[in-house]
């Protein structure tokens, strides 16, 4: 599904390149729940942003379904990979339903009209995270944990085979963390998705993940 070959990640500011991590090789298939582990600033978020196509790789290649990530259009990539970050979403009258519905964006016609099929998918996504009762609430009325669930529901509505989550457990309490990972695990098994999660809750992750990618100092990494 994802094949990372000799990858160098980082930022390009003007002509200066700021390399964060280099020489990364890894391969993950559908059905895997991959835990991405590493200290602050080691490049976890940079790697995830590169995998979603938001940042371009400095060197090396990322193959998705044997096709180079650079050859996908934004539109195609949107139906393959979805993301969940910890950035705060809100304002502009955005309700929970609106945000989850935006997950359908890549599939919608020019004017963004939802079909009956879209609505069913949105309802199902809300139900699978048990936040249906919140659907008419404004995003700004939610707690951080609830907001996190909404963003995950959005990525479910996007119906991609790869889901990337950047520290999804950051705002969750103990029970919700376990519930979240159980949900992710079920998604991997039942819906044949590849899920990549970064988190600092290593003990928690060990119980659920099938693979791990541990980024360490000096471009050293461990696959498990």
């Amino acid at each position: 599904m994802i094949d990372i070959q000799n990858l160098e990640i980082g930022y390009k500011i003007k002509r200066k390149t700021n390399s964060v991590f280099t020489g990364l090789n890894a391969k993950f298939e559908v059905g895997a729940l991959v835990g991405l582990i590493g200290d602050n600033g080691i490049g976890k978020s940079t790697l995830l942003k590169t995998l979603t196509g938001y940042l371009a790789p400095l060197n090396g290649t990322i193959l998705i379904q044997t096709k180079n990530i650079n050859s996908f259009s934004f539109q195609d990539l949107a139906t393959l990979i979805s993301i969940v970050t910890t950035e705060k979403i809100g304002g502009f009258n955005l309700t929970v339903y609106d945000v989850v519905a935006l997950g359908r964006t890549p599939y919608l016609s020019l004017f963004g009209k939802l079909t009956v099929n879209d609505e069913t998918i949105i309802e199902n996504s809300l139900t699978s995270l048990s936040i249906s009762h919140l659907k008419d609430k404004l995003m700004d009325e939610l707690s951080d944990g609830q907001r996190q669930k909404v963003m995950i529901a959005k990525s479910l509505a996007q119906q991609t085979s790869i889901i990337i989550l950047d520290e999804p457990t950051a705002f969750l309490d103990y029970t919700s963390k376990h519930k979240l990972f159980e949900d992710l695990k079920n998604l991997c098994l039942n819906e044949k998705k590849l899920i990549i999660v970064s988190s600092h809750d290593i003990d928690l992750m060990q119980k659920y993940i099938t693979n791990s990618l541990h980024l360490k100092e000096n471009n050293y990494f461990e696959l498990g």
Binding site: K49, T52, G53, Y54, S73, F74, Q75, D76, L77, A78, T79, I81, S82, I83, T85, E87, I89, G90, G91, F92, N93, L94, T95, D98, V99, L102, G103, T105, P106, L108, L110, F111, G112, K113, L138, D140, E141, K154, Q158
Partner: protein, 332 residues
């Protein structure tokens, strides 16, 4: 927002707008009802004075509200608007150059261009500022920075304009100052023949970017992941707003307030985030506000024209403040 709700709100706004338009046509220094219908005077007042003025109100109000909406969504900041970001100031400065500098050096043939010259300058000024802001927003992801830069830019442009005003002759200065107060009564039907096609294209253009505008409300990162090409969207919004603000400013002067406050009011009143709905609401509400302001202008004094700028601001700002206090603060 449910479709039925959207339609009923739109119809309500349309009814209010038509009532305002009819009253604006009837009210003025001459009582239309005292004239014989079909007489020459009646026709002149109705068709060459009042009708173009009402149409100008409709077009300028809806266009500026639309620009405000597009900019606020693009920058995800309710403080954004053509005035705050310096787009109007850019247009103003260039019109100042056209009316005061170029007329003083007396380039032959300039006289014949007249209004189209001003329009051209106004659009280029609006374009230049929007382009600078666009460049900065590419380098710097923070919306606050972009807004601050916009405010700085409009200060610089205002200062430059001051320099030009200081150095120009009193005659051309007066023309410019009057223009700067904003007026909807100087456009003729043939001017509207130029404004309308441009307006129409820009409005159609903004309906075509409804989907990316919705997605960008999340943030740039999420929007990209939803298949939206953000730089293309930015360019489209910039082009639409620069053209609309440029044209409207050229003909009516820099009309303040409508651009920033109508989108805010529209979000507070109609409680929807979907741009297909918001664009329609902003167009209608913006038109209502400016036509209403013109009606008030006429009622206060039909002998001399109050600058429309003062009326939109004096009436509109308290309404927006009331709406803001009344509602949940984070909704905007």
């Amino acid at each position: 927002m449910k479709n039925s709700k959207f339609i009923s709100y739109s119809i309500l706004l349309l009814i209010i707008l038509s009532l305002l338009v009819v009253s604006d046509l009837c009210i003025g220094s001459v009582n239309l009802f005292s004239l014989e219908r079909g007489s020459e005077l009646f026709d002149t007042i109705l068709y060459t004075i009042r009708l173009p003025k009402v149409i100008t109100c409709l077009l300028s109000g809806s266009a500026l509200a639309l620009c405000g909406l597009l900019m606020q969504s693009l920058f995800r900041n309710p403080l954004a608007g053509p005035y705050v970001l310096g787009v109007s100031s850019g247009a103003s400065l260039f019109v100042a150059i056209a009316t005061m500098v170029l007329t003083s050096i007396n380039i032959s043939g300039l006289y014949f261009f007249g209004k189209s010259m001003i329009t051209l300058f106004s659009i280029s000024g609006a374009f230049l500022v929007t382009f600078i802001i666009l460049m900065i927003s590419k380098k710097n992801k923070s919306n606050v920075t972009i807004l601050l830069v916009g405010i700085m830019l409009s200060q610089i442009l205002g200062a430059l304009q001051g320099v030009i005003e200081f150095m120009s002759s009193s005659n051309s200065l007066k023309t410019f100052v009057l223009w700067g107060m904003g007026s909807v009564s100087t456009t003729t039907l043939s001017d509207l023949g130029f404004i309308f096609p441009v307006y129409l294209m820009a409005v159609i253009g903004s309906f075509l970017i409804v989907k990316p505008l919705n997605a960008i409300l999340l943030n740039d990162n999420y929007a990209t992941n939803l298949g939206i090409n953000i730089s293309t969207l930015r360019i489209k919004v910039i082009i639409i707003t620069a053209i609309l603000v440029g044209v409207i400013t050229a003909f009516c002067g820099p009309i303040a307030f409508v651009g920033i406050s109508v989108p805010i009011a529209s979000r507070l009143l109609f409680k929807t985030s979907h741009h297909l709905h918001q664009i329609v609401f902003c167009l209608l509400l913006g038109a209502c506000v400016v036509v209403f302001a013109d009606v008030i202008c006429q009622l206060v004094s039909s002998q001399f024209m109050l600058p429309i700028n003062t009326v939109t601001t004096l009436i509109g700002s308290p309404v927006v403040m009331y709406l803001l206090f009344k509602s949940k603060l984070n909704m905007v």
